[in-house]
């Protein structure tokens, strides 16, 4: 896994400055994520995590610096950038009055993709969404099940890059384990993943690298050694600004 | 259901008022509401006062010109005719009702019942068909909308942000919360009704019955209370602000915009009325049988002639102690009026039945209920117009018959028959202008308080039912949410 670092950079933030209503939220943020990597942007409330993600999605404009996806500037080639990214929103909100299948079909059609029923079903199997729920409306789902549906959708998008917003918040421990496993599998099959989270342990469990974000600036990066996890204690100490 | 504490309700209401005071939208809506009500009250009061002056002065002018007519043949005065004007009722400054839609003057003459002429609407810009700047319209249509805009989120907001569970978990009853919110909205209702109350005091000073004004204002309070309850119900029923907003707006569209017109359309097709023009044919046919009162030789009057001759024991009409031509005019006017009245009553009955069908929709829409209540109480409903028609008909019959009496008693048959034989004969065939004085004194006023209360009983019942029904529904919904 470690070798993936040498691969092509797919996500890059270059001294990114973003202002929202006169407040500087991002102050020169720089990081890169290489193909096949899982990068977790870790930060507390108001650190600028969501702003970073939304800048990559094209909802915020950089006041200086730039965000790149697969070498394309987000602000100038938004349409192509969006084709290459699959976004998983916080709370995985889809349409509650539609079934999982209908939701996925709806969004895929929006994206201009045509997937067969079996492809969709296979993906549901892949994310371990229990079969009896496929034809049920989402309003009957638990949060973990909605999350799985949303991931299934993201996978079906066949985008090389995943942007995940607080993917594990509100999930029970079993669901978190399942999720982490799925993300790891995705990355090993070549996907590049950027997730933002405030969950130190979750990030350490799944990410290859962690960027620590504080007040719009990257204050530290942590990297896992080959086949090892990042040391939770070190990251936690940095997060809480104390010596390990 | 836990206990409801008055102090807590007051606390909730105060909090709601504070919430509004910090919201720009709520403040501007409140301001708009008060400015609109106030300006409508002032503008309409001035307008109706002006109309009242004009109509009174025209009534006086009409009487004066009638009395100023020189000595002449009394039947000339029957055709000269007289005008009656419908003076607006004191409460019409709050609800002008049908005033602009009916003619407000009637030309009264012998042998004919004219319809009221010069409805203001015919001489208007046609812009105010959707709504006018009358307090009735503002309070019936606009005020509920403003209440909705202010209050739609009163409970659903707490549900959406989950403060509701927090409040409930403290042991506060949901009904304390609902009634507290209701109290705050009721405060707005009072603000809206304040200008109306002031106008009502003026109406009392102008001679309107205190009970009617009180009932009128109470009716409006019940109506706005219905809306407060609708708002509380929908706000409790829906867990999202946007849902309660959409549902309330929809209810407003249905009750205030669509339903009154649906009521009118339904009434007009379910009780078809023949117009005056059409019944006039039947009147003409009936009248042909009666004979022309101008022509004493008409065979239709032979019977009258014979009975009069017999009663007075004479053998020719010249020898009767009074003018036979006058007697014929008087008798034929009486017969004709009976026929005309019968048709007029039929027509008014039809029109009333039609109106009653429209008013039934008050069970389906509080706006229709308050509309009837308001117009009936204010004396600006169709009944008042009918009363005007009846009273003017009475006036017409009285003055025509009084002239016929003069014709009969103060003008000799010989002079009358010779009236066309030269200037001198014409002068002889006249009576003194003192006979024209009886025209004085017509002043129209709406029906008494008791009659108006009786007529509006249904509308009060409709509003009461709405209130009871909504309270029950709120009780049910509140228990479910709790």
């Amino acid at each position: 896994m470690g070798s993936s670092k040498q691969d092509k950079t797919l996500i890059e933030s270059k001294s990114l400055h973003v202002q929202i209503k006169d407040t500087s939220v991002l102050k020169g943020l720089s990081f890169r994520v290489a193909k096949g990597e899982i990068y977790a942007l870790l930060g507390g409330n108001g650190a600028g995590k969501s702003t970073t993600l939304k800048t990559f999605l094209g909802f915020n404009q950089a006041s200086s610096g730039a965000a790149f996806i697969d070498g394309l500037d987000v602000s100038s080639s938004l349409a192509s950038v969006r084709k290459k990214t699959a976004y998983l929103p916080e709370n995985a909100t889809l349409y509650p009055h539609l079934t999982a299948k209908e939701n996925v079909e709806y969004f895929l059609s929006l994206a201009g993709l045509n997937k067969s029923a079996s492809e969709i079903e296979n993906t549901f199997d892949l994310v371990a969404l229990q079969k009896d729920a496929w034809e049920r409306q989402l309003q009957t789902y638990s949060k973990g099940m909605r999350q799985k549906t949303a991931i299934a959708l993201a996978i079906l998008r066949e985008a090389p890059i995943f942007l995940l917003d607080e993917p594990t918040s509100g999930l029970d421990p079993v669901a978190i384990d399942e999720f982490n496993q799925l993300v790891t599998e995705l990355a090993s099959s070549g996907a590049t993943i950027l997730m933002v989270t405030h969950d130190v342990y979750g990030a350490c469990q799944v990410a290859n690298r962690i960027g620590l974000l504080r007040k719009g600036e990257l204050v530290g990066e942590f990297e896992a050694n080959q086949n090892e996890r990042i040391d939770t204690e070190v990251v936690h100490a940095a997060f809480a600004q104390r010596q390990p | 259901m836990s206990k409801i504490h008055l102090a807590q309700i007051g606390c909730v209401a105060k909090d709601e008022l504070r919430y509004w005071s910090r919201s720009k939208l709520a403040i501007s809506i409140l301001t708009i509401g008060i400015v609109l009500t106030l300006s409508s009250v002032i503008v309409t009061a001035f307008k109706m006062h002006e109309l009242s002056e004009i109509r009174h002065s025209m009534q006086e002018t009409s009487e004066e010109t009638f009395m100023e007519q020189p000595d002449r043949h009394p039947h000339r005065m029957v055709h000269y005719g007289h005008y009656a004007f419908r003076a607006p009722s004191p409460l019409s400054m709050l609800d002008p009702g049908v005033d602009a839609h009916t003619g407000n003057s009637i030309f009264l003459e012998g042998h004919r019942q004219n319809s009221a002429m010069f409805a203001e609407q015919e001489q208007s810009t046609g812009l105010t068909k959707m709504g006018s700047l009358s307090p009735a319209f503002i309070v019936q249509v606009i005020a509920p909308l403003l209440l909705i805009l202010i209050g739609y989120s009163s409970v659903s907001r707490e549900r959406e942000s989950q403060t509701l569970s927090f409040i409930l978990s403290q042991g506060t009853s949901i009904f304390t919360l609902i009634f507290g919110k209701g109290l705050a909205l009721f405060f707005v209702v009072c603000l809206i009704l304040l200008p109306l109350t002031i106008s009502g005091v003026f109406a009392v000073l102008l001679g309107e019955s205190l009970a009617i004004v009180g009932g009128f204002l109470a009716g409006y309070m019940m109506y706005l209370l219905v809306w407060v309850l609708v708002i509380l119900l929908f706000s409790t029923l829906f867990s999202k602000k946007s849902e309660s907003f959409t549902a309330l707006t929809f209810a407003w569209i249905l009750f205030c915009i669509a339903m009154p017109r649906i009521a009118s359309s339904t009434a007009s097709i379910s009780v078809p009325t023949a117009g005056k023009l059409e019944t006039d044919f039947a009147v003409i046919a009936s009248l042909r049988k009666l004979g022309d009162g101008h022509n004493a030789q008409d065979p239709a009057f032979t019977k009258l002639k014979n009975s009069l001759l017999k009663r007075h024991g004479v053998d020719s009409i010249e020898k009767l102690p009074f003018n036979f031509r006058g007697a014929v005019a008087s008798a034929s006017e009486a017969e004709l009026t009976a026929v005309l009245n019968q048709f007029a009553e039929d027509r008014m009955l039809q029109e009333l039945q039609q109106t009653l069908v429209a008013r039934l929709f008050g069970w389906l829409s509080p706006k229709v209920a308050i509309r009837s209540l308001s117009m009936i109480s204010a004396g600006t409903s169709v009944e008042t117009h009918h009363r005007f028609i009846r009273e003017t008909e009475e006036l017409r019959f009285r003055f025509v018959q009084s002239l016929n009496k003069a014709h009969m008693e103060k003008l000799s048959y010989r002079d009358d028959v010779n009236r066309n034989k030269g200037e001198e004969a014409r002068k002889k065939a006249s009576v003194s202008s003192t006979n024209w004085q009886m025209i004085q004194g017509f002043r129209f006023s709406p029906a008494d308080a008791t009659t108006r209360f009786t007529r509006s009983a249904d509308a009060y019942a409709q509003l009461t039912l709405w209130i009871v029904f909504l309270l029950l529904f709120i009780g049910y919904t509140g228990r479910r949410v709790q």
């Binding site: 939304k54 | 009702g97 015919e122 001489q123 039609q354």
Partner: protein, 426 residues
Amino acid sequence: MNKHLIREWHFMLRQSYVLVLLLCGFLISSFSVLTGLSEIDSQRETIERLKTADQLDRAEAQDKHNAPGALAYYSFHLTYSAPSNLAFAALGERDIYPWKHRVRMLALEGQIYESDAQNPELAQAGKIDFAFVISALSPLLLILLFHDLFASERASGRHELLVTTTESSFALWGARVVVRLFAIFISLILPFYVGALINNVAMTDVLILSLWCLLYFIFWIALSLLIGRRESSAPRIASILIGFWALFTFVIPILGDLAINQSIHSPQGGEILLTQREAVNDAWDLPVQTTLNAFTATHPEYIGYKHENEGFDWGWYYAFQQVGDQVAEPLSIRYREAALKKHQRASFVTLLSPTLLIQKKMTRLAETDALAAMAYERRIREFHKTLRMTYYPWLFSADKFNKSNLDLLPQFDSTTSGTTYSRKNE
């Protein structure tokens, strides 16, 4: 593109509140068309009944009397303004202005203001016609349908996912707008098409009306989207939009009405009648020649007429009826001019409010507006004139009349325009 529309169509069918709104729109529109059709039918039937009764009544009068003067006095003539085929969709001002009148040879100013109005309490509430559904109700339905197009997705956190997933803006928002527009358009206008088919409305009228409706809908949708883009809270957006609706429906018309009524002063209708009555009644006491002189001043062809006997004479009687109209004429003209001027100024106010504008366009097309009512009044005046011109030769030169001439009396034709009334005996 097709694929997106189909997808959004199916998606819309799954949203129950949208369906409820569409169904309500359809029901209300159907009701308005149904009652409109029934109203117009009953107006047509009334006119047919009146026509028959009118002929019978006149025949009886003509049977009973022989002198042209008495014939003129006792024969009434029906005039009417038949509803156009499109009138069912826009009943317009027909419940306020009279559309049927019976007139005779007497002074017209004493007759023309008689109004056979409909139930005033129903007229005050107004009827629910298709024009009302489109002009006043449809914006509210459109606001409910379109105000939260963005806001509801924002509020439930789907906005970003939708935007980042979709191929193009059109695929998402465009398709949603088009599908909803199509659905509401069909549910509101379909009943009208059925009504138009039943009533044989001209194809061009149907097309013009459809186009206006479409433009009007697009206006409201554009406004909803414009405000929907700027604000985030759905109730706030809807409040602002309803504010615009109230501005166009109530505020602008009411202010316009106040301003116009302040600027134009019309004589009181009662004054016309009083003037006319004084003139007619005074004539009884005036020397015959005074009246005849005033009459021949406007009708010089009858200068040679001599008042035969001392007493009553029909020629003189109708001369002073006419003089009564002549005396009241300046007032009457001012009265009508004031009405027309008010209407013209109101047209300017209409330009400020799309709601009023579309209503005006529809009633104009259906010929049910105040202008049509004024044109009908002009037709009555023309008809009355033709009637007088037909009778005068008979009245003023006794040898010219024999009863078979009655066939020459004009018949009111509701299709003639106000200015070109033709006389039969010319």
